[in-house]
């Protein structure tokens, strides 16, 4: 029972002041360590994906060719896509290909995965990025206001709203937004994606409702988290008392001290949420007719396109893993004690 092995870094209480030292070698070591840690996780996810997909009954080749195809034709297709090989062998083949940048070819459309991804990644990326920006930009001021007067009217309303937001299904929310802002007040487009090539204005306009549909539940979650953390700090942390004793105003304490510390937790939550968020694009892209990766994944599922499904699932998982990696590194940059920490 070594005490040191499980010791956690306690809540960081430092500001951004020590950022300058971040370039030192401990940080590089930490990054290398985190990257090395991400590799087994990615491998684990890809193995799990292969295994789970193999549990789905029915032969994808037969499903694709239909009833008219002869057994020989089905066998040929199975061979072409290596479905006749053993699971581990297929996994190794896929892994070798993926490491060489070859993600395979869709069984159904014969398009290479890379060309399909190239067509679609920007939509999903923009959707996810905007949803994060909007939800954070809204959550921070609301949480600060709520935490300034805990138990006050604003606090109560914001908490009620955020719990409500979490209790409303996102597909209902999406339909409601369209109903209000596209049907009743006809100011925003109900469906479709306008590429950046047609100008930033039209592009952003086409993304407003999908972004809101994704961002509102996130906003609720962030507000709830941040407000809780801020109130906790304001009430229990010694340094807040110290700051108060020094005669620093309440807003300043809230912003300069409590929020700075809470932002560490926020970064982590943001990282943890990316996986869920990317998954959420499946439903939102379907309702708003956005040609993104989520739509592609659902199509892949419906057409039993094993190649598309396994690649996209692994890509979604990889995004989540790398987001967390980024968070870890960012965290270390902001908080030197982790860099020099015991592990």
């Amino acid at each position: 029972m070594s005490v040191a092995s499980g010791l956690l870094p306690t809540r960081p209480r430092t500001g951004f002041g020590r950022l300058g030292r971040a370039a030192g070698s401990p940080l590089v070591r930490l990054i290398v360590k985190r990257v090395l840690l991400a590799i087994p996780i990615l491998l684990g996810v890809s193995v799990l994906t292969f295994w789970v997909l193999s549990l789905i009954p029915g032969d994808p080749a037969r499903a694709m060719l239909g009833m008219n195809a002869t057994d020989a034709q089905v066998e040929a297709l199975r061979h072409e896509y290596h479905l006749d090989e053993s699971g581990p062998q297929r996994y190794l083949d896929w892994l070798t290909g993926a490491l060489h940048g070859d993600l395979g070819t869709s069984m159904v459309s014969s398009q290479t995965m890379s060309s399909m991804l190239a067509d679609r990644w920007a939509v999903t990326f923009e959707l996810v990025a905007l949803a994060f920006i909007v939800s954070l930009a809204a959550a921070v001021p609301v949480a600060l206001l709520a935490a300034r007067w805990p138990g006050g009217v604003f606090d109560r309303i914001s908490m009620l709203c955020s719990v409500t937001g979490l209790a409303v299904a996102n597909y209902v929310l999406a339909l409601l937004l369209v109903l209000v802002f596209a049907v009743e007040v006809n100011v925003l487009p109900a469906i479709g994606y306008v590429g950046l090539g047609q100008g930033l204005g039209p592009n952003l306009k086409s993304m407003v409702l999908p972004t809101l549909a994704m961002a509102i539940p996130l906003f609720c979650f962030y507000t709830r988290f941040l407000r809780g953390d801020l109130v906790d700090q304001m009430q229990s942390e010694d340094y807040v008392d110290t700051a108060r004793a020094k005669g620093i105003g309440p807003w300043r304490v809230l912003w300069m001290h409590a929020f700075r510390n809470s932002s560490f937790g926020m970064i982590t939550i943001v990282g943890l949420n990316i996986g869920t968020l990317v998954g959420g694009t499946v439903i939102i892209e379907q309702i708003f007719a956005l040609p993104g990766l989520g739509q592609l994944l659902l199509q892949g599922i419906n057409t039993r396109d094993t190649v598309v499904v396994q690649d996209l699932v692994i890509i979604f998982a990889a995004i989540a893993v790398f987001a967390n990696l980024l968070v870890d590194v960012l965290y270390a940059v902001l908080d030197p004690r982790i860099r020099y920490g015991s592990h």
């Binding site: 009954p57 029915g58 037969r62 499903a63 694709m64 060719l65 239909g66 009833m67 008219n68 195809a69 002869t70 034709q73 040929a76 297709l77 869709s106 159904v108 459309s109 014969s110 398009q111 290479t112 067509d119 679609r120 109560r156 309303i157 009620l160 709203c161 409500t164 409303v168 339909l175 409601l176 369209v178 109903l179 209000v180 596209a182 049907v183 009743e184 006809n186 487009p189 109900a190 469906i191 479709g192 379907q286 309702i287 708003f288 007719a289 040609p291 739509q295 659902l298 199509q299 892949g300 419906n302 057409t303 039993r304 396109d305």
Partner: protein
């Protein structure tokens, strides 16, 4: 005191919030309610001469017409029968199904073909092509290209390949530049009727295929249809522009045509209300169809009914290998009530066989058909010592509602029912595995031999049958082997009577999906009804136009 204040505060906050939610959702119900629409579409003659120009955005259900993950190459598009809008716009088609403006008098008309003739007792089909047609890449639309296409289609491992019984030697040959001859080992009476929803109908440019290669051709194919591809994202969005080399003078009317895939009827309805799209083909959610009929912004067109629901019973397996169990289902089923309750005001016809009023060879009554009779159903179930049934369907809103209603009706007769809505791959799997009992499906088409026709559900050679009966097979073979309408009518009547007599599968309402179209847009098949060959009506896209 404090306690009360606190409770009140909570109630104050909760009340308005719930109310807000309710109001926001109730807005959906209002919309603009104004002039009622008879739902039969507008007759082309009344709306004045067609105008050229303009662009149109059409929504298609991502899980049906809007889903074309396998691309738009006729030889490999597994969902070609569903993707009529995209295929017809790009390729046109050798033959089309057309009808009068009121949906009557439907018939197959030559389009890129000029005529066809059967000879050799129906075993040889000669198709003459219209002269002077060019593909949009400028290459000639000739017999050699058509033969190349047909050979490619028939030898494709695609589930979309036609099931023609071709001769081994010289199955399809070109005679001169404009004549194609197809040699078969058996006569095929429904071959031409089946063409408009078959991939063979769509002829692709051989030159363009060879230039682009198979993978690229799936995304941006080249045909001789009214429109050419500007951009295409499979199953998401297809942007088309007018084909300047189109062989019909003055057509197409539209300059630009965009098909967008959308995930479901409700988002599609909202997008139409918001003016984001001009039309949605194949709306099947019945409350939304009713809602659209009340909305003065839209023209709602229901196709003539052709495909009734059928409750397929697996006669190869217990409990439905016993005719008494099947009869119990007949007696327990009341489609009239379902028509009145689930499809309020639509007045859907209830069929007793595999055709409906909008199709060929329809007869309202089938002799010996067992009608709803709860007491007889109860008696039979009692005699059988109880009956347990698993009733499945392909999970679509309307079908789900119908099986729920059926479950209730059957349980009243003492039948124990579990329902199971399934995705399409699961349905296919149920059929291949043979482990199903009862499935709600649709059967029949405009021509019972075409599309998802009667043989599809009843012939022992079909993988989707619940019946293996040589006598029934014989009726179908005979009907398919003749091109004489009177003879076919007689044979199909006999088959219907035989199915009723053996209680193989009860039939039901013939429900047709609706086209919801913005006012000011017109076109045959879109705002005038044309019978559906499979599920959705085929729109004649080159004649679609909008008021400027």
């Amino acid at each position: 005191m404090r306690r009360i204040a606190n409770v009140n505060r909570k109630a104050r906050l909760l009340g308005p919030l719930a109310a807000l939610l309710a109001v926001a959702m109730a807005v959906a119900a209002c919309g603009s309610s104004a002039s009622s629409n008879d739902g039969k579409g507008d007759a082309g003659a009344q709306v004045g001469p067609a105008q050229s120009g303009g662009s149109l955005t059409v929504l298609e259900d991502a899980s049906f017409a809007g889903g074309y993950a396998s691309g738009l190459d006729p030889a490999t598009n597994t969902t070609g029968g569903a993707n009529l809008p995209q295929m017809q716009s790009i390729f046109g088609g050798l033959f089309l199904l057309r009808a009068d403006d009121d949906g009557s008098n439907a018939k197959i008309v030559p389009n890129q073909a000029e005529s066809y003739a059967f000879s050799d007792g129906g075993k040889t089909l000669t198709i003459k092509l219209r002269p002077g047609i060019k593909f949009s890449d400028g290459t000639p639309f000739d017999a050699q290209t058509v033969v190349w296409n047909m050979l490619r289609d028939t030898s494709s491992p695609c589930s979309c390949a036609p099931t023609w019984q071709l001769t081994k030697k010289d199955p399809i040959v070109a005679k001169g530049d404009l004549t194609v001859v197809i040699h078969m080992t058996q006569p095929n009476g429904a071959l031409i009727s089946n063409l408009p929803i078959s991939n063979v109908n769509w002829i692709a440019s051989k030159t363009a295929f060879q230039k682009l290669g198979a993978a690229k051709f799936k995304v941006a194919p080249v045909g001789a249809g009214p429109f050419t591809v500007v951009s295409d994202q499979l199953s998401s969005e297809l942007v088309l522009k007018k084909n300047p080399n189109y062989f019909k003078k003055g057509l197409p009317y539209l300059d630009k045509l965009t098909f967008k895939s959308i995930g479901g009827d409700q988002p599609a309805y909202q997008a139409l209300e918001a003016g984001q799209a001009d039309a949605y083909e194949g709306m099947s959610t019945s409350p939304l169809i009713t809602q659209a009929m009340k909305n003065s912004k839209f023209t709602v067109t229901l196709g003539p009914a052709t495909s009734p629901y059928v409750i397929q019973l697996n006669t190869m397996k217990a409990p439905f290998n016993n005719i008494k169990a099947r009869q119990a289902i007949y007696y327990a089923t009341d489609f009239d009530a379902i028509s009145k309750g689930l499809f309020k005001g639509s007045d859907l016809p209830v069929s007793e066989s595999f055709t409906a009023p909008g199709g060929l060879f329809y007869h309202e009554k089938v002799p010996g058909y067992l009608h709803y009779d709860l007491d007889k159903a109860k008696a039979l179930v009692k005699e059988l010592g109880g009956l347990n049934v698993q009733l499945g369907t392909t999970a679509i809103y309307t079908a789900n509602q119908v099986i729920t209603a059926l479950q209730t009706q059957w349980e009243k007769a003492g039948i124990k029912v579990t329902t199971k809505p399934m995705q399409l791959p699961q349905v296919i799997q149920a059929f291949t595995g043979g482990n199903w009992q009862a499935l709600l499906q649709t059967a029949g088409a405009w021509d019972p031999a075409a599309g998802v026709g009667v043989a599809f559900r009843f012939a022992s050679t079909s993988p989707f049958t619940g019946v293996k009966d040589p006598k029934l097979d014989n009726y179908f073979l005979q009907a398919a082997a003749t091109t004489d309408s009177a003879q076919r009518d007689k044979l199909y009547q006999q088959a219907a009577k035989y199915i009723a007599q053996k209680a193989y599968a009860p039939f039901g309402i013939a429900f047709t999906p609706a086209n919801i179209v913005a006012k000011g847009v017109h076109g045959p098949g879109l705002t005038t009804p044309i019978p559906a060959l499979a599920v959705n009506t085929q729109t004649i896209w080159d004649e679609v136009w909008r008021e400027q």
